[in-house]
């Protein structure tokens, strides 16, 4: 018996890691946009849902998972650019709650557009043929698709990290987050940097939605819970800290997965309890700076 439950625990742990990867992707986009634009993007959940629907739509047209996987970030980046340029940019001078409220409205509109175009019932979508079935890892069998999701997350995060830390464009992004005035004085068009970062954040959110589609289902409201989960991850990890988002996201996925195994009734509430505990001890989050929380 001990063997069986240990195997189940491992399975639950891996399932949690895959779920955590989705959290990490959503929270990364959120943190990226907040860190640079100082906007809490309440449309992020809707971007996630839009990405999933865009992917399912592209899959229906082309029949190729890989083409969809490229189409989703491209389409989402275009959407993000349009929203940043025409809606958010005029609001940058105002109180931070105005862009926040605007993205809140965008979320409403996107979800309702999804309902109009694709119906309210949700669309069945399963993993592509190559990823169906399971692999044996030691003595447990784990769905192939989830392994793919984990690999894709690692690849994406590495690419993002390389972009931000190692390229000259990333240098501008980091400098722009610290002091937009100085970067502007040095002759950089910061509005282009904002645009790019918002587009990347949107694309990552959409990609997360599409990757999660075979795991968590495709319904218009799919973004609501994931947005709140991402908020919890961001608050626990520390606002603006990418490392915090990764660690808190993976931990949260594992905790939820294990709780749903032992005490299913509490799986929805456990992450809020953790967030409350973290807020009591470290209001700025585990890896956050105090000034970012103020």
């Amino acid at each position: 018996m001990g063997d069986v439950s240990l195997g189940l625990l491992e399975l639950q742990f891996l399932t949690g890691l895959a779920l955590g990867c989705i959290f990490v992707l959503v929270a990364t986009g959120l943190t990226l946009i907040f860190g640079l634009l100082n906007v809490v993007n309440f449309a992020h959940g809707a971007f996630y849902a839009t990405g999933a629907y865009l992917g399912v739509f592209a899959f229906g047209l082309t029949g190729s998972f890989w083409i969809s996987l490229v189409a989703v970030p491209l389409g989402m980046a275009a959407l993000g650019m349009a929203i940043e340029k025409f809606l958010l940019r005029p609001l940058y001078g105002l109180d931070p709650s105005y862009p926040l409220l605007a993205t809140f409205g965008v979320g409403y509109v996107l979800v309702e557009l999804i309902r109009i175009l694709f119906g309210t019932d949700g669309i069945p979508f399963s993993a592509p043929g190559a990823f169906r079935g399971s692999v044996l890892l030691g003595d447990i069998s784990f769905p192939r698709y989830r392994i793919f999701v984990m690999c894709a997350t690692v690849a994406l995060l590495t690419a993002l990290w390389l972009f931000i830390e190692k390229t000259s464009y990333g240098l501008i992004v980091r400098a722009g987050a610290k002091s937009p005035e100085i970067v502007e004085v040095l002759g950089v068009d910061t509005s282009k940097v904002w645009l790019l970062v918002f587009a990347i954040g949107t694309a990552v959110a959409g990609l997360a939605g599409f990757l999660a589609a075979p795991m968590r289902g495709v319904i218009p409201e799919m973004g609501v819970n994931v947005l709140i989960e991402a908020f919890v991850v961001t608050v626990v990890g520390g606002m603006g800290s990418l490392a915090g988002a990764v660690i808190a996201g993976l931990a949260m996925g594992v905790i939820i997965s294990i709780t749903s195994f032992f005490a299913a009734d509490f799986s929805n509430v456990v992450m809020f309890a953790i967030m409350a505990a973290v807020l009591l001890v470290r209001p700025q989050g585990l890896f956050g700076r105090l000034d970012a929380a103020r």
């Binding site: 809606l87 609001l91 105002l94 109180d95 926040l100 605007a102 409403y108 309902r115 967030m275």
Partner: protein, 332 residues
């Protein structure tokens, strides 16, 4: 640096209630004037249910406005307090068999308690963090009530909360008559408005507006920021709880949707639409929002799309809201 510039600009946008109005009399007797305007609602509204909804959601938005418009804290989880008031009142009647007046008090108390806990956690953070934490904790309350089916009825909501008639000595009111119900609810709304006005005029009201205008200055002036914000949060939750309790008396059921995040969104939209930081703006916003909803649902089921678009347009072009912009125009 950007933040500082941002803050001064925002303050100008939300500076609506500061200067003395050229209309001294209505300003000084704003509770009476607003009571008179609200009392006339059934005569203008297309149907009594809409008038009642304007009362309830106007009060909800007013309570939210205490925190958002006057203290400057944007909570995105105020559905928690509307829902707590609604469930508190409903459970007091269904489970505890309390009379209606005790049930209303129970609703307010439960909402204030929820506000004390959620607010206590949320005010440890500030700025944009605050909105995320309030939204997350409100959603936590939603999950608890959703799953606790044996007490709350879960997905199908709490049913059978009927208050058919009110007997107060010689006074007998049948709540089955929509007009009687409207004036019964109006009584509580006016009481709440009087309390609200009193709070704004008190030193406490001055301090919360000081916090909104410049937190650092308020801190430097020696005010206890945390406890003041917390108090404002609890008071705001109590007003929203009353609105929720009245909604339960009105409908006779409590839907789980009262706790859902869309309810929080609705109250934000109403307040911004009407004008944040104004005394009567939330009622104007609630009235506009509900009338638009009433009109559009006749020809489309996708009301949320229209609500979202109007809201975006309002944030983009009319940040002071309809009533707020009107007041600015008059005062110029």
């Amino acid at each position: 640096m950007r933040l500082i510039a941002v803050q001064t600009q925002c303050n100008e946008a939300s500076l609506v209630d500061e200067r003395p109005s050229p209309f001294g009399w209505p300003e000084r007797h704003r509770v009476l004037v607003s009571a008179a305007v609200l009392a006339a609602l059934p005569a203008v509204a297309p149907h009594p249910a809409l008038a009642i909804n304007i009362l309830i959601y106007g009060l909800f938005a007013t309570g939210f406005n205490l925190l958002f418009g006057y203290t400057g804290l944007l909570s995105l989880g105020h559905a928690a307090f509307f829902g707590a008031g609604a469930y508190g009142c409903g459970l007091a009647i269904v489970a505890l068999h309390l009379p209606w007046y005790a049930a209303i008090l129970g609703g307010i108390a439960f909402a204030a308690l929820a506000g004390a806990v959620i607010g206590g956690l949320a005010i440890r953070t500030s700025g944009v963090y605050f909105g995320m934490v309030t939204l997350a904790l409100a959603q936590c309350l939603y999950f608890i009530f959703y799953q606790w089916t044996s007490v709350t009825g879960g997905e199908s909501g709490l049913r059978g909360v009927s208050v058919p008639a009110i007997d107060l000595g010689p006074l007998h009111l049948s709540l089955l008559d929509p007009l009687s119900k409207f004036y019964f609810l109006l009584f509580f709304v006016v009481l709440a408005l009087a309390a609200f006005s009193r709070i704004l005029e008190s030193p406490f009201g001055a301090v919360i507006e000081g916090i909104r205008e410049n937190e650092n200055r308020a801190r430097a002036s020696g005010y206890a920021l945390r406890s003041t914000k917390w108090m404002s949060f609890v008071l705001s939750a109590a007003f929203c709880g009353l609105a929720g309790a009245l909604n339960t008396i009105h409908l006779g059921i409590v839907s789980i949707d009262t706790l859902f995040y869309t309810t929080s969104g609705t109250v934000v939209m109403m307040t911004v639409l009407g004008g944040m930081g104004t005394y009567f703006g939330p009622f104007i916003g609630a009235a506009l929002f509900l009338c638009l909803e009433d009109l559009t649902t006749n020809w489309t089921s996708h009301w949320q799309l229209i609500a979202g678009l109007i809201f975006i347009a309002c944030v983009r072009f009319f940040p002071a809201g309809v009533w707020g912009s009107l007041l600015e125009r008059i005062r110029k």
